[in-house]
């Protein structure tokens, strides 16, 4: 992945919000939703701000205690995962000038590889119609294939 590459949130299919230091992301097309804590939250925030991959890595290197190669490998792997989940897409628009990365301004935190906690329990909710596609008396459930409709 090129360091100059930039991504954007795959709106309007994907919505997200930062709350209590954790980003909650929902893919409205699939029903899957995600929790992005810690380093993952920082990477998501960088994507939302339109930063390049290289700049996101630089910011992480400035904020966390770990060697740059370790941080870059983990960040790139995470961004690839976000893209594979359909949460972000390449941003080919003209980039705005990026401010220089801030370094050494605060206490660097211990680094843990970013994690993407995925919840897919809404798939059944989405695949059946959540309001009406039921056996006329029940809350939504997927009708077994061999059950008459």
């Amino acid at each position: 992945m090129a360091r100059a590459e930039r991504f954007r949130v795959n709106a309007p299919s994907v919505v997200s919000d930062l709350i209590d230091g954790e980003v909650v992301v929902i893919n409205l097309d699939t029903g899957d939703y995600y929790s992005l804590p810690g380093v993952a939250c920082d990477i998501w925030s960088g994507v939302r701000r339109g930063l390049s991959v290289g700049r996101i890595v630089e910011d992480l290197v400035g904020a966390y205690e770990a060697d740059a190669a370790t941080i870059e490998a983990a960040a790139v792997e995470f961004i690839v995962r976000l893209r594979a989940e359909g949460l972000i897409v390449p941003d080919d628009t003209e980039p705005a000038a990026e401010p220089a990365a801030e370094r050494g301004g605060g206490v660097r935190r211990g680094f843990a590889p970013p994690t993407l906690e995925k919840y897919d329990d809404m798939r059944e909710f989405l695949l059946v119609d959540p309001i009406h596609e039921v056996d006329v008396t029940d809350w939504p459930r997927v009708r077994p294939r061999d059950e008459p409709g």
């Binding site: 709106a11 709350i19 209590d20 909650v24 409205l28 919840y119 959540p130 309001i131 006329v136 809350w139």
Partner: protein
């Protein structure tokens, strides 16, 4: 397409029956049921909101037997999709192919239509929460969002109960209503986040599994399905209360109930996905409102015990204030 759908609404209006008027979260709703049998099936869930509308209604909703027909190709059944919906300008439409129920909202003319194939085949979920999708779209235009949640309250305020089906929302809401708390919904609640978080009651019925309903001998069953029943809680309904907390219930099997704090992110994960998927096309604005609720209200895990009176006590203790 817009002309065809506008024509549909005009024809629906031409066939309009005498209306029933409602006050929904401070908005005026006028519903024309074109069929008496349909009115008997769908009107009771909104009965507690009946109120004469003076002047223009905020929305005129025409409830019809049948289907939109060939003039609405955007609402043609698609076997690959469990529901079909579209948005074009101020027009929004939805079709639920499995039941043939469909709806259309024209935000510009403040008219909507809701088609049901046959009154005798209305599913329980539609009886307990009719017209949900078009009402959700309409209310979104007034800064309100529909939460997939239950809500109950005391004079101190309301608690939103969130979680997917089977988490215990309905039993908790009914247990609290039976114990004297105000009822604001067991599955759908209209929420406002501005100026203060507020829960508005939309539907006055709760649906319970039959075995759960037997735990409330003092409550009358208004309609029975195969394994679920409707309980009419309209007399215990409260129009609106300020929200004080969000509770995320889970069934424990232990006798006593208890609450423990959880993060706003955990609240949002429990609240937002099913709420957004429930009203197709609600998207980022609704998510922003739900996130504001999750950020601004204390959240608690509610470990549900088997003692239903204790459930109500624990919920009331979170809210404070006398029971309304």
């Amino acid at each position: 397409m817009a002309a065809g759908l506008a024509g549909l609404l005009a024809r629906a209006e031409h066939r309009a029956a005498p209306p029933l008027d409602y006050a929904v979260a401070g908005q005026r709703l006028r519903v024309h049921y074109a069929d008496e049998a349909l009115r008997e099936v769908l009107a009771p869930a909104l009965g507690h909101l009946r109120e004469p509308v003076s002047g223009h209604a905020g929305l005129r909703l025409f409830v019809l037997v049948g289907a939109p027909g060939a003039s609405a190709p955007a609402l043609a059944p698609d076997a690959r999709r469990p529901r079909v919906h579209f948005a074009e300008g101020a027009l929004r439409g939805v079709l639920y192919p499995a039941t043939g129920i469909s709806g259309l909202l024209d935000g510009a003319s403040r008219r909507a239509a809701w088609w049901v194939p046959a009154p005798e085949r209305v599913p329980l979920a539609e009886r307990s929460g009719p017209f949900r999708t078009v009402l959700g779209w309409w209310l979104a235009g007034h800064g309100l969002s529909i939460a997939h949640a239950a809500a109950v309250g005391t004079a101190g305020g309301a608690a939103l109960l969130v979680g997917r089906g089977g988490s215990g929302k309905s039993v908790t809401a009914v247990a609290c209503a039976a114990a004297g708390l105000g009822f604001l919904g067991d599955d759908t609640v209209v929420c406002a986040s501005d100026p203060v978080p507020t829960a508005h009651c939309l539907y006055g019925h709760a649906s319970l599994h039959a075995e759960d309903a037997r735990r409330f001998p003092g409550l009358a069953v208004s309609w029975s399905g195969e394994d679920k029943v409707l309980v009419d809680l309209g007399a215990r309904a409260v129009r609106a209360l300020p929200l004080q907390a969000v509770l995320v219930p889970r069934v424990t099997g232990q006798p006593r109930s208890r609450v423990s704090p959880i993060s706003g992110a955990a609240v949002l994960r429990a609240l937002a996905p099913s709420s957004l998927l429930n009203v197709p096309g609600s998207g980022a604005p609704a998510f922003g409102q739900l996130a504001a609720l999750a950020r601004g209200l204390p959240g608690y895990r509610l470990d549900l015990g088997t003692d239903l009176e204790d459930v109500a006590r624990v919920v009331a203790s979170v809210l404070g204030g006398p029971r309304p």
